[in-house]
């Protein structure tokens, strides 16, 4: 595993976070992720924020992987 976290926007989909990272809320409380790679919502429509729940596909949300 790399020493840095890697964050990847996937085309028309979520941000995937891999590597050593911690996820906290704005008060610093740890958010349990339960897995090595997590998908964070990028479309704003997830019902499980901050995690992706696949809703981007239902709403046909589009965004490139590379910077716009």
């Amino acid at each position: 595993m790399s020493e840095q976290a890697r964050i990847t926007p996937y085309r028309d989909g979520p941000l995937l976070v891999r590597g050593p990272f911690v996820l906290t809320d704005q008060d610093g409380n740890r958010i349990d992720v339960g897995r090595r790679t997590v998908a964070l919502c990028r479309c704003g429509r997830s019902q499980s924020k901050p995690f992706c729940d696949g809703t981007h596909r239902l709403v046909d949300w589009r965004a490139p992987s590379r910077p716009e």
Partner: protein, 337 residues
């Protein structure tokens, strides 16, 4: 290990009778193409049992049958019938245009074009508890060995595609924690719902169309020739998973079952498959096509074949339920908790 099921016709009778004996005495078996090679009870039970020799086997069956040349010859003939049936069912279908950099876009187009009936919407909004239990029984044919059929592909891949498949499978297998193995989460769901989570306990109840959905991935997974198809199958499976699994969890809660042991499998898959979807479509399928561009059409065919068999399976369940009947071969004595 499971017990051998009951035969459903001449082919499964030959297979099941053979498995009770010592290996090495199987003569030629006539296999005619059935009316529906994608759902035939006899064909798909026989094939399911032959594949099962490569997974967990059966009680009191000699393990050498797995590599018996007579049985392998019969399996090859059954696969030929099944594969031909798939080709004919999809003969009018043309894969969406794609290049190695846009495989994920093409897979998404296949998923979006799926106009099959929505089992998850039915269960979320109006299904009965008995119907949900039937749904779980159907899925037990795969979900008690979840991820295993796709693992056959690991040694056939390299580089980015291999790393992506292992990333997905490691999560499917609990990331090192046996309590989080997805097949175990499914067994927990069955237990919490009062069903029998013993591997293979319900084979006799499952129609050919259900067994075909599992045979599809076993066939794609066990043949290196079909590695593109098993990769496309997994990619589409993951892409079509998060949203339905949320609905399945909601269905249980609507039916008054808020036990995390029962809903855990479905709730876990909302988050897990949101990760797997991207990895499978972009890194696994895209990675494979970058490495082996000639496999593009196979990747897309594997995805489309999954859509086809899932739609037929879902239509079968909904047709039974709309008539107020059981979707199983015989109604299960399902004791809801």
């Amino acid at each position: 290990m499971p017990r051998l099921p009951e035969p459903r016709g001449s082919i499964s009778a030959v297979v099941l009778e053979a498995l009770r004996r010592r290996p090495g005495r199987l003569g030629p078996v006539e296999v005619a193409t059935p009316d529906d090679p994608l759902a035939d009870d006899d064909l798909h039970l026989a094939l399911y049992c032959l594949y099962e020799l490569h997974y967990r086997g059966f009680d009191d069956v000699d393990e050498r049958w797995e590599w018996d040349l007579g049985l392998l010859g019969l399996r090859a003939r059954l696969e030929e019938v099944f594969e031909q049936g798939l080709q004919e069912a999809l003969s009018d279908w043309r894969p969406p245009g794609a290049d190695p950099g846009t495989v994920d876009v093409a897979l998404r187009a296949i998923a979006d074009a799926d106009d099959g009936p929505s089992l998850s919407r039915w269960l979320e909004t109006r299904g009965t508890l008995e119907q949900f239990l039937e749904f779980v029984i159907h899925r037990s044919a795969y979900q008690l060995k979840e991820a295993d059929p796709h693992s056959w592909a690991i040694p056939r891949l390299a580089g980015r595609a291999k790393a992506a498949l292992v990333e997905i499978q490691a999560d499917e297998y609990g990331g090192g924690d046996p309590d989080r193995v997805h097949a175990q989460l499914f067994a927990n769901t069955m237990d919490a719902l009062g069903l029998d989570s013993t591997y293979g306990a319900y084979i006799d109840l499952l129609p050919g169309a259900t067994l075909a959905t599992v045979n599809l991935m076993s066939m794609f997974g066990l043949h290196r020739r079909l590695r593109g198809r098993i990769v496309g199958h997994l990619a589409l499976f993951e892409m079509a998973s998060s949203v339905p699994n949320r609905r399945y969890g909601n269905a249980l809660r609507r039916l008054g079952i808020d036990d995390p042991k029962a809903t855990g499998f479905y709730d876990e898959h909302v988050a897990a498959d949101a990760v797997h979807e991207s990895v499978a479509a972009v890194d696994l399928a895209g990675g494979l096509v970058r490495a082996e561009p000639e496999l593009l059409d196979d990747v897309l065919f594997g995805a489309r074949a999954l859509v086809e068999l899932e739609a037929r399976w879902a239509a079968m369940l909904l047709a039974a339920w709309e008539r107020g009947r059981s979707s199983l071969r015989r109604a299960a004595a399902v004791a809801a908790r």
